[in-house]
Amino acid sequence: MRELLELSALELGAAIQKGEASIAEATQAALDSMAEHEGSLNCFITQAGEEALARAAALQAGAKGAESPLYGVPMALKDNICTRGVRTTCASKILGDFAPPYSATAAERMAQAGALSLGKLNMDQFAMGSTTETSFFGPTRNPWDTARVPGGSSGGAAAAVAARACWFALGSDTGGSIRQPAAYCGVTGMKPTYGTVSRYGLIAYASSLDQIGPIARTAADCAAVLDAIQGRDPRDATSLDAPAGGLLSSLTGDIRGMKIGLPADCFGEGLDREVRAAVLSAADVLKARGAQVEEFAFPLMDYMVPTYYIIACAEASSNLSRFDGVKYGWRAQGYEDLTDLYCKTRTQGFGSEVKRRILLGTFVLSSGYYDAYYKKALQVKALIKGAFDQAFAKYDLLLTPVSPTTAPRLGESLTDPLKMYLSDIHTVPVNLAGLPALSMPCGFDSAGLPIGAQLIGPALGDGAVLNAAHAFQLETDWHKRSPYGKEAE
């Protein structure tokens, strides 16, 4: 059973189709791993072991000759992705008992592809945070070192995949929430091009930036998940009418002649020495497989984080106005009138980071400050988009760090919100420009913590991003390392 846990999602899917492993056996192996580690890690808000075993039994008959390469593979969902009848909390008090009357399109499509869910994963409250410490249900810990955070906001997802409690997970990424925890936990995570995965049923944080994507062991696994969930959805008006599917079959690992740009401004001051060295050696690996790698100037980096937080908070203040204690969710007691009901419910129902972002967003949108902050940020966003357009006129992909450091200790980030925001510098530009980007393990620091490298592609260049990561993973084994490697040997 332990051997099953070390397979990639695609390898497990193939073993299930060939009859070498049963779906129930794989599900039980994941549940055993979860039982072993959940007490120290806290990856799950809701566990659905019994339901998963029942579904495993029901799926088994269709295993032979199944069309989907992920048929029967156990996975889990970040708890901001709605699941009909299964509580979806956004790691908050205000949605603590919310059981949605519908499922997200991405969750439905995963189920149609024969995947089975083991439960709902911990996250920063309403996806606001970079450490999974703002969860109402307590922090998740990093499987590589339980004194460290797993990153965030999809920290439960990245930790669960790293801890072998599931083969892959769906997370969401507004400013790095898939890529940064993937980097901190030594797994592979992808934010696809904005609009290629439906946001229907994803509880909104910042709608112009939010995107659902996979966290898995390999780039090929991510490609298979995206093949299942990408594609137009009439229920999301921002979903693109672009061709979907075929990513997995397009992975050749051949990157000869591919032009990869290294933005010099991403490798300057503030970047940890060991992270820089690991990302630069990833560039060497890509070069050895035939890519041309070149440094170039990318001068807007100082403006990325302020632009991102103005736009994200503005949209959050609007999106979160729907949580009012009337239609669903938690309601405070002891109110005097309707306004008092709203104020008490929201003040007691939201955590402090959520309130901080609602207030910031309300401020930048308020009369007298709108032009100086919100409108200004939208103008800078246009400049950022332009800078990426220029870069992709010269390069097929960009390579950068995912985060300036490896995973911080619990408690280090919450005392200084601005410091936490600044650590998002390498991931937020991608969301502002709507681009696809992937985080892949590329080494470890001297404390034994994983380091991630980020590949960024042009809009709809998801295939090129995945292919370069696949080429890298054919050449390296960082993605195969397990936090429990030594015990397993």
Partner: protein, 95 residues
Amino acid sequence: MKITTELVDYISDLSRLRLPEEEKAAMAAELETIVTYMDTLNTLDTAGVEPMSHVFPLKNVLRPDQVVPSAPREELLGGAPERDEETFRVPKAVE
């Protein structure tokens, strides 16, 4: 940019939030640090730059107008903190 506790009260009111008195000064200080950092944007010349809300030129996404049943009332009311047979219940809002 200076953020006073009066300004925190004003935006809290707009946000339907009511911070306890003892949290207001700390929130004002935190917001001031963050907003001062956001002021970095003022060092960038954006004269004549069109504000960009969406990166892709999507507009007027239309579909054929088809009649489909809406979600069952009982399911939608099922999650409400307080309800009666067919509506959400709230305190009296209009005298």
